[in-house]
Amino acid sequence: MTLRRIWSWIIILLGAAYFLLPLFGMLQFSLKMKRGVYSFEAYRVVLRDPQFQQTFSYSVILALLTIVIGTLIVVPTAYWVRLKLPRLRPVVEFITLLPLVIPPIVIVFGYIRLYNTSSVLPLTGSWIGTNILVLFGYTTLALPYMYRAVDTGLRAIDVATLTEAAQSLGASWTRILATVILPNVLVSVLSGAFLTFAIVIGEYVFAALLNLNTFGPYMVWMGGNRAYEPSALAVIAFGITWACMGLIQLFTRFSKFSSAKR
């Protein structure tokens, strides 16, 4: 028993070393911009950079819009499939998992081919079109996580009874979705949303190939041209990822308490 325990500790500690050293390295490096002393100089430079402010807020907006589009597509679909088309479930599930199998670079390559300026729907030709394209692209990337989260959430509630109750009170489909189903799966939607946020905020391939100045291409540019700032950016990105995951945990735990009370 004790031998097993010792081995477990060794494995955990080795693992911890592997994971913590790069984080330590990036943090330490980001503080070394001023020679000889630790300072937040790199962060100051980054945060004051108008390019940073511009690209970062652009990515935040894209992430938020992706979450909205994703929710609008995923929640009604998952609900409808559970309620009315259960036979379709394996098909829908399979499709939602496809973005994990088809590499993102192939998907965006397809976009460029399908929606280029000489096509029927020349989305890449205009600023607004490119943004629509990248938003739906990000929604595609988020689809596996969003769908699974919402579908799991729907499993926990009695969709059929809730729908019947709402219908007998005269609610329309949109009203059922917005005021009955959505609040019930809100925690799932939020976990999917935070994960989506973490994915979209630093995304590189879609943005780079569609020529959009988002946070991802900005980071790559900084990486090629600066020494200390990239580490500061990495720390910021890590902080965002951590915050997203922390919020997911928080909401899930919160929902456990509230459902236990019921």
Binding site: P22, F29, I102, P103, G202
Partner: protein
Amino acid sequence: MTSTTTSVPDTPGRRKLPLLWLGVAPFAIFVTMFLLLPTLNIVVGAFQTSTGSFTLDNIRQLNTDLIRSAYFISIKISLVSAVLGCAIGFAIAASLVFGDLPKWLRAPLMTFSGVASNFAGVPLAFAFIATLGPVGVITVFLRDDIGINLRVLGFNLLTYYGLIIVYLFFQIPLMILIITPALDGMKREWREAASILGASTLQYWWFVALPILFPSLLGTFALLFANSFGAVATAYALAGPAFTLVPITLFSQIRGDVLGNPQLGFALAFGMILITGIANVIYIVLRTRAERWIK
């Protein structure tokens, strides 16, 4: 379509069928336009000449030294990082579940896995450059304070081995996240039953635990493989277009036709779909087999 799980009154008669399918119409349109058609376009393009007629020439042209080695290296890196990610992740998850470790350790480790598995791409590359790069914190520390020069020892982050080390940062946590619930599901009674029948720990793991875990192990392996096979941002932020991996080559090709033949890009992309597709078909086939065995 009359099968509904509920007694919800449907609109009667002729309008019933369209309404039923109308509910999934937005989803269908969305995935057709932004997932299925783009992919199909690439697959079809791989078998077309620039004027649109059928050809196998694009596929044949993949058979150059550059592209062959790109596929070879990509597959090798993905396999190695998936195998190591599975093995190490499994070891950590097993320590966590069966290792008599303090209970408080578990929650932070799982949260951290969630964070690390999503901390991929550009920032991850920066973190490793700051740590193990030429002037990285550890590199400098080892050189100046301990006297070990990693460069002299032949270590370089910007090699394929370095890339695997970086990829493991998101591969291992992904494995931990997926396999821990599976390990939790293993009943203590199985182990007791095995040991009563005289099985050693090794025999228990080989004959009892492993076959049960096989489907989840395999599924995670396929996922990890696809995960690193399609990754562009991490490798690109690490070394620019210097790595001749398939996705990096495709990235450069889309940006500026470096292969000198636009149709070749389709073939390259088609090859990527084919490989991740095959990995998943193998997974599905083996999984059905493994599950039949369990029943």
